[in-house]
Symmetry: C2
Subunit: 269 residues, 2 copies
Amino acid sequence: MPRAASGAAVWGQPDERSMDPDGGWGAALAHHFARKLDVVNRGFGGYNSRWGLKLLEQVLQQVAASGQQVALMTLWFGANDGAIPGRSAERQHVPAAEYAQNLAAMVAMARAAGISRIVLLTPPPVGDDARVRHQQKRMGITTAVLPDRTLEYAQQYAAAVRDTAQQLSLPVVDLFAQLQQEPGWRDSLFDDGLHFTPAGSRKVWQLLRGVLGQAYPELSLESMSNQFPWWDKWDAADPEAFWEEALPQLQATAQRQQRTQKKEEKKQG
Amino acid sequence: MPRAASGAAVWGQPDERSMDPDGGWGAALAHHFARKLDVVNRGFGGYNSRWGLKLLEQVLQQVAASGQQVALMTLWFGANDGAIPGRSAERQHVPAAEYAQNLAAMVAMARAAGISRIVLLTPPPVGDDARVRHQQKRMGITTAVLPDRTLEYAQQYAAAVRDTAQQLSLPVVDLFAQLQQEPGWRDSLFDDGLHFTPAGSRKVWQLLRGVLGQAYPELSLESMSNQFPWWDKWDAADPEAFWEEALPQLQATAQRQQRTQKKEEKKQG
């Protein structure tokens, strides 16, 4: 039957805000791919890559059970792995070396499940002072505290993503480096040194979109067929005849796309 | 396996903007139900209920093939059906009586496919003058034109939705009546007398949310289980043991939910 033959999955830690109707980058992805791909949000706030690795097996089983083919997966962890040991968020900490291994293991699992187009995102840069203020506010204190995450500490996690992406021949959105190039990024892009403002989330989408265009030109809107005809294609005088002719064509196109995709997956698998 | 046992589907004419990361009400729905339900956008811009009825059979087949159970469906046509015959958008016109029949037929098809929770939305009110300006701009003229849609003409379509909802015992979001209560609605909620501004789309979500809460309290966030544990439930010291214990419970919960839903559907089907 005619369908958006496949979906895009958003996988990683930032569930709370990715579909936010105030600039959310997951919503932007869904808006961008409307009538082309369904976007499935599998973001889990607060998760690190160690816990995420456990979940991914289940998530991939869900996808397999639905018969959907995943055309694209974004993979984004690290903001929580990079919580500093001995400070207030240490429960979330995962060492950078293990973090890199977890990312590679997730990619291997996704590839084994037939997902070939994956984009890695580095953790974003950290606003150290804003983290301090956030912790003080949460704890109701004004005395000095050490930030639970820092820009300096996050560096090694960003580097781990870059290395992993290179080793696995995958594209990477280097949020860590690129967001720091925005003037006043600490206040304009983040609201507590860690979570994005609407402007920050829009910037994430802008950077992701650029990487997608370069790495996966076959996912350009021009390259993908639409789900069902545009409204102005309908023969208003005789919609019955139009649909009788259009439907078998749509079904044939959908079947052809599925065959092509399966072949591609076999080649890459 | 643990899953958001079901999804919510957005079905109707307004695809272009519902997932818009600038206030889109579909994005708001997805954000609201994150970790509870997946939101699938099946909006088709420019469609009327006559063309939409043809598509719905295919869309429901897709859903059935995916094994997903639809927990909620929004049903929204009419802004195009209400294009006035003999004017510039007449191709999209469908008489109000047929429109009402089409809506009822769609509800019957959805119910036959096991979808019991449906919300109807009336077409929004029309800004006549803005329609005139929009048409003049598109045609590059400054001479007088008659608006392709009008507030007065849209009335009968809104009435048809109210009647259909009552006959079929379904909740309705009366956008036609309620949006007109907003001061300055013509300019603040619409950008061309027909399509929503971000503020308009936010208002749609606010009204839809209110109706959902009243009609389907079982879809309140408190009533639905989360997909996978919150991050702070994990035993950071021993994630292996935590997961070994949590996973079978999650699986049992998911199976129980699916059985309950299937029973409900049989009862209502």
